[in-house]
């Protein structure tokens, strides 16, 4: 079982109920804007606490209200690519990339620093401040930062927005490789039919 998500969660006035299990390595989440897709990712990452339910990823229980399990975010080891990037403004790109990397056991890393710089095409940016990056550049750094933390699973919130077709293709190929070779579970939020169709057949529709 890659993901078992069975939660009840409130954001603002919206109430969100989800009850799915998925064996697929990549689970897609689709739904209209404001449906609660990001909120689900926040629950899985440990940044929001559902009112009820259970979250199990790859056999590890991250949250179980009934059994009072609620792993703090740093022990969940999610590789979260935020919809709004959230690069650390006071750290140069290089330090942003290595922030999570330095906190993980080298034995657990499954992707190389140089490989990430390479397929994301951000090698020339490591000395830059995040505030000087273009939209797509920041997006790629955010992806790189998440991958380098050697996460046990990935939460991708519309990861390929702001990227041109060629770059997108390259990143898609890496995601496919991660799916096939490393079997890292992923949740992918996307509005692109293309992306979803290509990466997964398993869809959760909310809202």
């Amino acid at each position: 079982m890659s993901f078992e998500l069975s939660i009840r969660h409130r954001v603002g006035e919206r109430s969100l109920t989800l009850d799915t299990r998925s064996d697929a390595r990549i689970t897609g989440i689709v739904g209209p804007s404001g449906a609660g897709k990001t909120s689900v990712l926040n629950c899985v990452a440990g940044l929001a606490r559902p009112a009820e339910g259970r979250i199990v990823v790859d056999g590890v229980t991250l949250f179980d209200r009934a059994n009072r399990i609620d792993l703090p975010p740093e022990h969940r080891r999610a590789g979260y690519v935020f919809q709004d990037n959230r690069l650390f403004p006071h750290l140069r790109v290089g330090a942003n990339l290595s922030y999570g990397e330095r906190l993980t056991d080298p034995a657990e890393r499954w992707i190389g620093h140089d490989e990430v710089l390479d397929f994301l095409g951000i090698g020339h940016l490591v000395q830059r401040w995040p505030a000087t990056l273009s939209g797509g550049e920041a997006r790629r750094v955010a992806i790189g930062r998440a991958l380098l933390a050697a996460p046990r699973f990935l939460l991708l919130d519309e990861p390929l927005t702001s990227l041109d077709a060629a770059r997108r293709e390259e990143i898609l190929r890496v995601i496919e490789r991660i799916r096939d070779e490393l079997a890292i579970p992923m949740i992918l939020v996307s509005h692109s039919r293309d992306e979803i169709d290509r990466l997964t057949g398993t869809l959760i529709t909310i809202g």
Binding site: L47, E74, R86, F88, H90, Y99, G100, R145
Partner: protein, 232 residues
């Protein structure tokens, strides 16, 4: 290099610097801790704590000095204990002057730091947590560096305030040359003597120069801390 200062004036300058620097360095972590608690936590008695921190600002310094004397004097609860346990007294010592300076600087430091901590985007802390940083590491690597402008601003405010501290100091630790006669006390002494305006002016200029130097340093540090800030 005497800069036209007599030996005893030099001693005053050196003592002032020692007192202010020790006061600020020792207070920085305390002030930051208080600022963080006031910015990020809510608990019963928070307002009381806030009020307590502001107390030295609103009370006339003489009263603060008097309260310090009551608490840290030999007959006071803390002072008596210090004396008995460590054979150590703050009264009439430069350490007491540093304590007075620290207490007077505290509210200014806490406010500046708190303002900066409050403007740190908590979503960045959340991001750090997902990357494997525990609460303390996230604090150290995200909140702390992002609030550096407030830390430097607080430090320079506090340093300037310490350099200028007079009322609490003279009340608490008196005006002893070499121990507690800091610049403001020396200036005050000068002001009491008719016709000593020249000396007073010289000492006042030194105060100003010292605080200007602190300002220059803090401006550079603030600029450094803000390097990654919004460009366009």
């Amino acid at each position: 290099m005497s800069l036209g200062l007599s030996e005893s004036e030099w001693a005053v300058v050196v003592l002032s610097l020692k007192v202010s620097l020790v006061a600020i360095l020792a207070t920085l972590p305390v002030a930051y801790g208080l600022a963080w608690v006031l910015a990020r936590r809510s608990f019963p008695g928070k307002l009381l704590l806030d009020g307590l921190v502001h107390l030295p600002l609103v009370l006339p310094p003489v009263v603060t000095g008097w309260l310090l004397l009551l608490v840290f004097g030999r007959a006071g609860p803390v002072g008596g204990w210090l004396q008995e346990t460590f054979g150590f007294s703050l009264v009439f010592r430069w350490t007491g002057a540093a304590l007075a300076a620290a207490i007077m600087a505290l509210p200014l430091m806490v406010r500046a730091m708190r303002l900066s901590i409050e403007s740190v985007d908590r979503r960045l802390v959340a991001a750090a947590r997902t990357l494997g940083a525990g609460p303390f590491r996230a604090f150290r690597t995200i909140t702390l560096p992002l609030s550096l402008p407030g830390i430097w601003a607080g430090a320079v405010l506090g340093f300037a305030r310490s350099l200028g501290e007079f009322g609490a100091t003279i009340t608490f630790v008196s005006n002893i040359p070499g121990q507690t006669r800091t610049l403001p006390l020396a200036i005050y002494t000068g002001l009491q003597v008719p016709g000593a305006e020249a000396e007073v002016t010289r000492l006042a200029i030194i105060s100003v120069v010292l605080s200007l130097a602190a300002l220059v340093a803090s401006e550079a540090l603030i600029r450094r801390a803000g390097r990654g800030a919004h460009v366009l």
